[in-house]
Amino acid sequence: MAEHVILFTGPMGAGKTTAIQAVSEIAVVSTEANNSERHLVDKPTTTVALDYGEILLDGEEKIRLYGIPGQRRFDFMWAILKKRAQGMVLLVNNDAPDPIGEMLTYLDDFRELYDRGGVVVGVSRSDVSSEPSLAAYGDALAVAHPGKVVPVFTVDPRNNDHMRMVLLALVANIEMRALFGLTESRSI
């Protein structure tokens, strides 16, 4: 059975679980527990294990959507999942103290996945904080990853249209990177 794996990553509270819920065609399997880092994110529950959703294509082909815990104490899971994944949706909160720094840190952590496939950055909560601008994200990416153009969009993780568009942009970008020989191509 053909399958494609897309990861949803990002810091706590960026909306990974909500984003998967917005596009999954099955009831999302989410396990949450008490937030042990409430001093960082004031949220009563947070993802501590995998979130899992699916989009069914023709026949038995499916896209598997995995939400990865945001806390770094779970980074052993990142290593396992990023080997299976073709692409990643990285969500960051625009009202976090340093969202651009967080984005760059995650991109470094998942550089191998980016080199092999592709990444789209979704900036959530831009309605709460309009700064930094998307141009500022683009400028930071141009410095950190010269020559690579990572798609960055403002998103509302609850919005099905936004998250569908993010997935389509991710897949389109992965295919074009492979077309122009910019990735260690792996069939998607």
Binding site: S130, L167, L179
Partner: protein, 210 residues
């Protein structure tokens, strides 16, 4: 031949479309100096752009963008960086307006500020969650994100008419998110395995695209 105005009547203004607005906006953005721009359009309230804040104000929602509007007047005004605001901030993000002006001007011909032998590549993606776009446009944007392409190369690769590719290039250029070069050679396409079916993008588009 131009019509002679009838004595005693006001000469009709020469109809202008979005191309004139695009040229004006592009020239202001190239100067990078603080400027206000007022566009007067038939059947619509004036449109104000404050380039200091990359924002605009207009009573017409962009979802009802009048592609065939007639531009009756256009005024620019240099302004101090700290001069009073023309409208309440944050206003609307200018990129959404530039996207629509760019795709609706020049009737699919090359924008007047672009050269005929250039190739283009994105410097950053447009914020597609905020712009009304087609799946074909997204596909072309992904191409331009990864290779320098001319409008004809882009059209051929995407399987669209060249005016459609040119409209997109005009818009991205107006938004100042395109690099352009006459020096870069044609992009080389990597050898691809023989496709047994449509791409995943095409299948996902069929599933999710609207």
């Amino acid at each position: 031949m131009d019509e002679e105005p009838t004595p005693g009547t006001t000469p009709r203004p020469t109809p202008m479309g979005w191309a004139q607005a695009a040229i004006a906006v592009n020239s202001v953005l190239q100067l990078s100096i603080p400027m206000l721009l007022k566009l007067e359009l038939n059947d619509h309230e004036p449109l104000y752009i404050d380039f200091r804040h990359h924002a605009f104000a207009w009573s017409t929602p962009l979802t009802s963008f009048p592609a065939d509007a007639v531009l009756l007047g256009l005024q620019t005004q240099p302004i101090e960086l700290d001069a009073p605001l023309l409208f309440d901030l944050p206003g609307q993000d200018l990129d959404g307006l530039l996207w629509l002006i760019g795709t609706n001007s020049f009737s699919g011909a090359r924008a007047s500020w672009l050269a005929s032998d250039d190739r283009y590549k994105l410097t950053r993606w447009p914020n597609l969650t905020q712009h009304i776009h087609s799946m074909r446009q997204m596909h072309m944007i992904a191409m331009l994100g990864n290779a320098y392409l001319s409008s004809s190369e882009l059209a051929a690769m995407a399987g669209v008419e060249e005016p459609d590719a040119q409209r997109l290039i005009n818009a991205l250029s107006l938004m100042r998110i395109l690099a352009q070069s006459t020096e870069v050679p044609a992009a080389v396409v990597a050898e691809q395995p023989v496709a047994k079916r449509e791409s995943l993008f095409a299948r996902l588009r069929a599933k999710l695209g609207r």
